[in-house]
Symmetry: C2
Subunit: 234 residues, 2 copies
DNA sequence: AAAATAACATGATAATTGTCATCTTAAAAA
DNA sequence: TTTTTAAGATGACAATTATCATGTTATTTT
């Protein structure tokens, strides 16, 4: 009794439980979840899963930041999405019954839990609110992906960089020194906006000269959010 | 009794019922469906719904071809997805409880049925197989969107055109004269691959000269599928 | 601390793609 | 059928972006 309580609390108070589709689970379900999950620590740069791998479950992100990306023929890494604590990972391929379409790697040290597919399917079939949540989460991803697809075509690299900087600021916030909290290399930033690393660096340098941002070493501080917004929207 | 049978058969034998998530519905549910749906005919060029519109339900495509697109600031129409008979339309915004993110227009004369949201939610909550199907359908869209997003960045316009021609051939097949069955204008084709109309026309002309395709008036015939595949995959 | 490596930066140049102008042909409207 | 409009085609040119080369500055590793 004592033990189940401890285990339950572990999942019950978890940030993922509070923010993701899992918030729809009832006490009993959370207890089941806690007993079937396994925890991992993943160091910056390491992979959670790789493209083509069969995951057979989803990953809860307790802490850290990760990237979902695909390697191209010419060796460039196109980043499809960043994920942070509170989110679930690998929902799509689990539901589609397919190997992972993308590689998931840690950008900052991560703590994740793995939940086996059988558990998720069970929740999906028996908890309408959970299945609706999961559905809405995938729908949200779809909308975002479609809009990014459109932006890739309709906006210039400069516009996309401005837009991405604003998004990173919105989603991850800033450090005490007012710089962006997510620590991306220029190469990774280029991978998000879909351009060459040099182009990205050059534009950051331009933005810096124009006073839109300030480069503090490798870190980036947004100086003129209004102008960046204007630039992003053309 | 006689009447319910007739109505039920109408939906029961419909191609959408056979191909979409709706295949999971049982007899009773199909009867409910048939009594709540409304049918429309939509002429080529007309809209089913427009961006920003609240649809409050999904559309079944009984016949015809449609495009989901978004108009850019400079007046260009980026096509996100083509839809054909047997598919459902507007699932995402219905589930997300949001106005439509994209505009849906007919590319060829269409017959569609509208199913109100209340019905779909009802099926979703009471029929596990239906909700799983719907989920998988959205997941499939997501995977496709992500892969297209990656292709948009990692491939040249030439490669994307080759790829798109092959996809159109795969998905819609060819007419008796061996030309592609979907009748897209050059502008629409350009909207799919995400390029300027002139660039698209120029590349089609190049492909023609290289013997990869043949231009029969406005129609396109694939002549060398193998070479097109090689080009698309780089 | 020294050496090695990775990340950042910038110039020079080439390739790709977009824009504008003009023309032809096909389709729709009068 | 004639007129008008839309779609397709092609050239000339400009803008954007990628690539290659090279140098500098931070990080790691030894």
């Amino acid at each position: 009794m004592q033990q189940t309580n401890i285990v339950m609390n572990k999942c019950d108070q978890c940030i993922v439980r509070q923010l993701s589709s899992l918030k729809a689970l009832n006490k009993e379900e959370v207890i089941k979840l806690a007993s079937s999950k396994t925890s991992y620590k993943i160091k910056k740069g390491e992979a959670i899963f790789e493209e083509g791998e069969v995951t057979n479950g989803v990953f809860c992100i307790k802490d850290g930041v990760g990237k979902l990306s695909k390697l191209s023929a010419n060796g460039k890494d196109q980043i499809v999405k960043l994920v942070k604590s509170g989110e679930l990972l690998g929902q799509r391929s689990m539901i589609s019954n397919e190997p992972a379409n993308l590689t998931a790697k840690a950008i900052a040290d991560m703590e994740v839990c793995f939940i086996p597919k059988t558990e998720i399917i069970n929740f999906f079939n028996n908890n309408n609110q959970f299945s609706l949540n999961l559905m809405q989460s995938v729908c949200e991803d779809l909308k975002e992906s479609e809009n990014e697809k459109i932006a890739l075509v309709q906006k210039t690299v400069k516009q996309r960089l401005a837009e991405t900087l604003l998004q990173l600021h919105d989603e991850f916030g800033e450090d005490a020194d007012k710089t962006l909290k997510v620590q991306l290399t220029r190469e990774e930033l280029a991978g998000i906006i879909g351009t060459a690393t040099e182009s990205c660096i050059r534009l950051l340098s331009d933005f810096n000269k124009l006073g839109l941002i300030e480069l503090v070493g490798k870190k980036i501080m947004l100086k003129d959010v209004r102008a960046l917004k204007k630039l992003a929207d053309n």
